[in-house]
Amino acid sequence: MTESKPNTFRNQPDDRGHFGDYGGRYVAETLMPLVLDLEREYRAAQADPAFQAQFDDLLEHYVGRPSPLYFAERLTEALGGAQVWFKRDELNHTGAHKINNCIGQILLAMRMGKTRIIAETGAGQHGVATATVCARFGLPCVIYMGAEDVRRQSPNVFRMKLLGAEVVPVTSGRGTLKDAMNEGLRDWVANVHDTFYIIGTAAGPHPYPELVRDFQSVIGKEARAQMQDRIGRLPDLLVAAIGGGSNALGLFHPFLDDPDVKMLGVEAAGYGLDGDQHAASLLGGFPGVLHGNKTYLLQDEDGQITEGHSISAGLDYPGIGPEHAWLKDMGRVEYTAVTDDEALDAFQLLCRTEGIIPALEPSHAIAAVAKRAKEMPKDSVILANLCGRGDKDIFTVAERLGVEM
């Protein structure tokens, strides 16, 4: 599938929202006029300098961007190979990269005259970020969250409530991110006249994968400039964790046409790729249609979506953004997977070497970094996205480590 290499990897999707064979707008007819409207409005916003100015201003003064680029000296020493650098998106307001996208989408919602916001959330980071921007702009907000995730991520549930959001636990299916997204789509289809759905990752019907990627690309644009500024060159390898894939695309996209920059996306291998208790859609799934787009999915031979597993609620999703599906087939990005145990080890390694408690999602990236750094020369440079902080995860980690809190 890599026989015809394109001139650029940065001009996707096409005008129908397709990334090669992936993406598209696989939604019920009720939603079609709305996603077409959203696309028109997004094109208008892209061409409107005032929209970009307001987005940039909020990112700087409300989110706290640019996020630092940090050389992890002690981790580098501990690993004994490549230099490890982090893009510190866990220092953003609300503690993860999710807020970048929420700022962009709520500005779009207001442009469209929508007065009610809904969102789905897995780990709760996107729910918190959505509740935050809704509070900031005074819009009512309903967050759908799988009942199992409500249990796993209770601190984030309370945060959302403090911010004025209504949190609706979803009990259908296994009660995780996929089921929350189904319920979000059901709400949207019944409330299309006044409701804007802030999707949290670079997936869903076109134009969501594109616009989420664009809003998150601030990560990679900053990192590119910061790298040039700090070491006078681009990194050799970019690493990011992948659930739906928005933080990874945000980091990767501005570098896609730099042939010397390799990229590694890290999926959640859960208890291991050999069984079915993992959330690695690209490495363990097949192309199919779910939640408005065609992409790699965890599914059985009849096309029923299967329930994966990851210690990280934010990676526990049976699909993947369609641009990753395309980048995988094109061979531009390499994808690997990391188990729960490896992620837990990496979590503790970063705590102890750098004094940073990472979220379980980037702990997967850090685990992959630890493996790769050892195989790379000392003058090579790895840049990983530290896309969320771990405060929300300490209960999960304590439970897995057998610690009573």
Partner: protein, 259 residues
């Protein structure tokens, strides 16, 4: 004349009845619908993620999949139904992923072999229909499209073009089995749609009672009832056929005497 066009060419409105395949004794339940007077059978293909369905049909999907229903089982239910009822039109309704998993051509040909007359796919809009729709047409199966209250006049031609058998008008912007739309809105939308197509228009979503069905039958070519029937299957299990026959008869009576 196809089985579908025959069902819609009568001088009265057609009653379309939906059940989820593999939820309870589907063969007995479908027979009860036919005995009660259903003109078209809509057989739901269970899916793990029925995004357009309300609680009643969601649960039916979960029960069916929980009982181990496979695509082969759905096709077998269809084949056996066709054997027992050579003249009753049978339509499969479901979501894209189970339909395209082995390839749209495979699905179209398997459905044809099972005696299926039409296919409604909830999440393939005209914009994405360059594989499934053509495969169905090639196999001689009617691809049945959905129009909704949000389908404006500009979009309507794209939806109507390529729809065969009948057009399914989704009366409410929402999920199945919830509130009913006002009859005025249904009437206005059905006549709007009929100005742009000659194919029959069936109305569904939120139709639960004979009274509602009768009201809609005055303005549409078909009335679709789903959740109310699926709830009877959930509630009455092995005794569902008698209840289904009873409700279908009442629905059929209301639809037949509507105009």
């Amino acid at each position: 004349m196809t089985r579908l066009s025959a069902a819609f060419s009568k001088s009265r409105t057609a009653l379309v009845c939906f059940l989820t395949a593999g939820d309870g004794d589907t063969a007995a339940n479908l027979d009860a619908l036919v005995e009660g007077g259903a003109d078209v059978i809509e057989l739901g293909m269970p899916f793990t993620d029925p995004m357009a369905d309300g609680p009643a049909i969601q649960k039916a999907n979960i029960r069916s999949l929980g009982a181990g229903t496979t695509t082969a089982d759905v096709l077998r239910i269809a084949t056996e139904f066709r054997g027992r009822h050579p003249d009753v039109p049978l339509v499969l309704m479901g979501y894209a992923n189970p339909m395209i998993r082995r390839g749209p051509e495979w699905f179209a040909s398997a459905a044809k072999d099972a005696g299926v007359d039409g296919v409604i796919c909830v999440d393939i809009p005209p914009e994405e229909d360059d594989a499934l729709g053509p495969a169905l047409r090639e196999a001689g199966i009617a691809p049945i499209r959905l129009a909704t209250p949000t389908t404006d006049d500009k979009r309507l031609p794209a939806v109507v073009d390529g729809s065969e058998g009948f057009l399914y008008y989704v009366a409410v912007a929402g999920i199945t089995g919830m509130q009913q739309a006002a009859i005025e809105s249904i009437e206005a939308n059905v006549s709007r749609i009929k100005r742009s197509t000659d194919i029959p228009v069936a109305v569904g979503f939120g139709v639960r009672t004979p009274e509602q069905a009768g009201e809609i039958a005055r303005v549409a070519d078909g009335v679709v009832v789903g959740s109310a029937l699926v709830e009877l299957v959930a509630e009455h299990g092995a005794n569902a056929p008698a209840k289904l026959r009873e409700l279908t008869s009442a629905l059929s009576q209301a639809v037949r005497t509507a105009r």
